[in-house]
Amino acid sequence: MAKWGMVIDLDKCTGCQACTTACAMENNTLPGESWQDVLFYHQGKYPSAQMKWLPRPCMQCENPSCVHVCPTRATYKDMDAGGIVFVDWNKCIGCKYCMIACPYGVRFYADEKPLLEPDLRDIFPGSNGQLWSPPYQNPEQDWKRGIGIQPAGVVSKCTFCYHKVSKAPAGTPDLDEAIPELKEYVPACVRTCAPKARFFGDLDNPESQVNRLIGDKHGVRLKDHTGNKPQVYYLGAGAGVPAFEPKPRS
């Protein structure tokens, strides 16, 4: 079985948020429930200020702290699914301990105050147990893996688009949208990336493009000191996330 990993080249990312939009459309997430987001950081002052883009999906950690803390095994790492970390919505009790334990802030409890008004949950009220039911919805549903639109009171997160990836031919080293016969199996954020800053493939295959990129371009993992060991690697300048600074007080 493959060990799915993602490589994001920050020298190519333009911060266009197409990946964020594609993810939201593919997975029918609510505003603010950004399973995939492009964060930006700024440092320094004009005229030498810098901005850094940081696309941030779930890291699908090798040693995921969210899995360790979950009291019900609702969050689990599935080695038979490429090492993707899932949330079983039939088991989640909504204690939110995984959200506390995740170092990357990539878990969401959509049963909260809406980010934007009007509330989409009021416009498209949920049916069949869903938190909301938009008019167009991805037909893929697998609540045991947190795929689809979640019910109320559970935690949701990026699944590396497992509903697409899982259909790829066995033994495929890389899922590259440039290869026509593979493009339907590529995660939405990777497929839509215009500057081709994202790559997706098998981290267990030494010949895969993702492994070659990590090796040749010195791929790094975010917050590696936490020991979570993400399956997402970053290339290029800008992978160093500046420490938090509060807004200057007037």
Binding site: G32, E33, D37, L39, F40, Y41, H42, L54, R56, S65, H68, V69, C70, P71, T72, R73, A74, K91, C92, I93, G94, C95, K96, Y97, M99, I100, A101, C102, P103, Y104, G105, V106, R107, F108, Y109, A110, D111, E112, K113, P114, D119, A152, G153, V154, K223, T226, V241, A243, F244, E245, P246, K247
Partner: protein, 399 residues
């Protein structure tokens, strides 16, 4: 011995009625909000997932543990002077724990599901799994211990064994509760291997506040209505112990604040400098809720006065509730990986629904306690305690 307990009279009925009305009103409001809005009725968000209901649960659970530890003083360690408050301690520990669990139940996304998914999946790696196990064991031991004492078994072998078991359960439950926070290396404000010690100490402080307040309330805020051994305790060992525990609490807060402020890590020092110390509410709760009570308890003439003790108990209620709130929220206010989307410290203010849960828990505690005072004899103590301490205390009271 219980004839002077005003809760057995009309005052008890009045307080029971008020508590029950507040309980029903707050529960009704919370349920109506949750049914109509879901957890959007809370101001907790994906960036600050744990808000006031968790802080309330923490406060109640630790106050319960503190009362359990105080009850262990005579039952496990032989401090016989504490016999007059043992039954009230155990009953209060039970009532407060139930109240805390009720608040937690309404905070969870799917509370009933937990009844089968936790036992069926046995995730022993999770501290939260053990929290459920240890607090359930703690609750059962409290009931068992109370049943033994209620049957007059103060010194039997079984009673002592149950007392020791209960003491261990309390240590495990509250220590593990501390580690739910203390083991989170990705939340540096909480990460602390010694957090269980801090929790034990502050648990006893909040337990003592509850014990003092409810003991005086049961006796109409007058020592004249109390038995001699109880009066003796309230004029001697208990206020000294209370003062020492408050001093220890202050020391712990000071040590955490100094190490936190000194640290370069913004996820620790900014929480202290920009969130805790920058908040007038935190400042007020620290100075009025912990420092002032400690100062009041320093001199013997002050700490032995009934008025001082009641005032200190009420101030410590507020001080430690705020301490729990700022501890829980403080661990989350530095935005985690949000970049310039969130470029300031996060703010969180509890919603009306979250406040209604805190009020509901408090009203449930009062309701259960009044029922306990009316239906049970919470002032009972072994005959030997009355024989040994009664005459001396009477003499002291008349002197």
């Amino acid at each position: 011995m219980n004839q002077e307990n005003i809760m057995k009279g009309p005052a008890g009925i009045g307080l029971l009625a008020i508590s029950a009305i507040v309980l029903l009103a707050s529960f009704g409001y919370a349920i109506a909000s949750l049914m109509s809005q879901g957890h959007a009725a809370f101001n907790a968000t994906s960036t600050v997932p744990w808000g006031q209901p968790i802080a309330t649960y923490l406060y109640f659970a630790l106050a319960s543990s503190g009362l359990g530890l105080i009850a262990s003083l005579p039952l496990v360690f032989g401090f016989r002077k504490f016999y007059p408050v043992v039954k009230r301690c155990i009953f209060l520990a039970f009532a407060i724990l139930i109240s805390g669990m009720a608040v937690l139940a309404l905070e969870l996304g799917n509370v009933f599901r937990m009844l089968w998914v936790i036992p069926l999946n046995l995730q022993i790696q999770s501290a939260m799994f053990w929290m459920g196990v240890f607090y359930l064991v703690d609750l059962l031991f409290l009931l068992w211990k109370f049943q033994k004492l209620d049957a007059g078994e103060w010194d039997s072998k079984t009673s002592k064994q149950v007392g020791i078991g209960s003491f261990l359960a309390v240590l495990l439950a509250s220590g593990n509760l501390a580690l739910i926070f203390g083991m989170m290396s990705m939340r540096p404000f909480w990460l602390d291997g010694l957090l269980p010690i801090y929790f034990y100490l502050t648990a006893v402080a909040s337990g003592l506040a509850a014990l003092v307040f409810f003991t005086y309330l049961a006796h109409g805020f007058s020592r004249d209505n109390m038995s001699a051994p109880l009066r003796n305790l309230l004029e001697g060992a208990l206020p000294k112990f209370f003062g020492a525990v408050l001093g220890g609490t202050l020391l712990f807060i000071a040590v955490r604040a100094i190490t936190g402020m000194y640290s370069n890590n913004p996820e620790i020092h900014l929480v202290w400098s920009e969130y805790l110390f920058a908040s007038p509410v935190y400042q007020a709760s620290l100075w009025l809720g912990i420092v002032l009570p400690f100062v009041l308890m320093l001199t013997g003439s002050m700490r032995n006065q009934a008025g001082t003790q009641i005032l200190v108990a009420v101030l410590v209620f507020g001080g430690l509730f705020a301490e729990r709130f700022f501890f829980v929220v403080g661990g989350q206010v530095i935005p985690l990986f949000k970049g310039t989307w969130e470029w300031d410290i996060l703010s969180y203010t509890p919603s009306a629904t979250e406040w209604s849960l805190t009020i509901m828990g408090s009203a449930l505690l009062f309701t259960l306690w009044v029922l306990g005072e009316r239906l049970l004899n919470l002032s009972a103590m072994p005959p030997s305690a009355v024989m040994q301490e009664g005459p001396a205390a009477e003499a002291a009271a008349h002197a």
